[in-house]
Symmetry: C2
Subunit: 190 residues, 2 copies
DNA sequence: CGAATTACGTCAGCCATGTTGACATACTTT
DNA sequence: AAAGTATGTCAACATGGCTGACGTAATTCG
């Protein structure tokens, strides 16, 4: 017994007060709570996909993040990466070293300033990076389809608004700069 | 210079091929990529709120998760918690011990089976748990409002579909059982 | 009854990922 | 020449995971 998390406790005190009363649409505490928990589980599985693939390469999430952001922003400097990932150079060092040593990422001295190390994902690296991204995008795509026709626009608005206010412009610039898809974000959320 | 992550590289190769071509609505690779990155940043800030509060108590995310799930499912057994959190008892032990020692959680031997330890969040614990949840729900609520009128339903559908297929029923049961809000999830996603 | 199983705890050792602080090195700027 | 900057590196440490092994109490099964 108790194989998965079918396991529910004997569950006492279920008196069903509050909530449910406002059977309507508005965001009750319970509804928001459900969103919270769903976000928790959704995100877990969202990272679960790439995690298992990364394992086979001896990489972790840290490697994934580096591959992703360098892949999307070729020529990124080490300092940029640190700011994006919000980690210290000491944390990045071993991860980056491994990626460079194993040929997934290359470094090039800057032209104007030769102290700078510009990072690039190699072909070998891009292959892995794409595989990882494809896994995650496939899950998102499916979920969007099952969520309805306008779900993608709604989702983007929601996620963007979830980001700390003083970070939004940075994120918008990052995404947008890398994708060159136009100004959906900065424009639509004003 | 380079204060935040204003820092963008010199950015070479921006030739703008693919994408954008299909200017329509459909989920292009670039759009999905944007969703991916937004999800990454959104989730980071979603956890950032409680993180800073937890620090003041000397707690981490692990404590938060325990408080949350025990708080929502009073009487949960240790084994249940392990399955929900997908961690080992050795990982849980120190966290749970700290919460019990400091009076945030209590344990009670089961009535029918006295080997079982049923977990309950104390009043002191509920106060903290509620504060944490309120922080996160406030962010979600705001984001939903800024995403439009039907965004909550859409979001729930999306998130639910993001969960691994063979986990959905479990999650639905968990959320639903705890909230007693009815069968929105299990019903609407079929 | 006695043996096996179960729920939980605990000890020991390991790994990944993060942190600070201090310092070295190469390069640029003043 | 001196100061500042971009990066790398060493050392020590914290957190939160993991596995394996073992103990203990309680239940269940033969």
């Amino acid at each position: 017994m108790n194989s998965e998390f079918t396991a529910r406790p004997t569950r006492p005190n279920r008196t069903d007060t509050s909530a449910r009363a406002s059977s309507g649409v508005s965001n009750t505490r319970e509804t928001l709570m459900a969103c919270m928990e769903l976000l928790f589980f959704a995100y877990r599985d969202f990272i679960g996909d790439p995690d298992s693939m990364l394992e086979r390469y001896g990489f972790g999430r840290a490697h994934h993040r580096v591959l992703h952001f360098v892949g999307r922003n070729p020529g990124l400097r080490v300092a940029d990466l640190l700011v994006i990932l919000r980690i210290t150079k000491q944390s990045l060092a071993p991860v980056l070293k491994q990626l460079v040593d194993e040929g997934y990422v290359t470094q090039e001295a800057g032209q104007s300033d030769r102290r700078e190390r510009h990072l690039y994902v190699t072909q070998k690296g891009m292959k892995l990076t794409d595989q990882l991204a494809d896994l995650q995008m496939a899950r998102i795509k499916e979920a969007l389809e099952s969520a309805g026709p306008d779900s993608e626009e709604t989702l983007r608005r929601f996620l963007f608004a979830m980001i700390a206010e003083d970070e939004r412009s940075n994120v918008a610039r990052l995404i947008d700069g890398a994708t060159n898809t136009g100004n959906q974000l900065t424009g639509s959320t004003t």
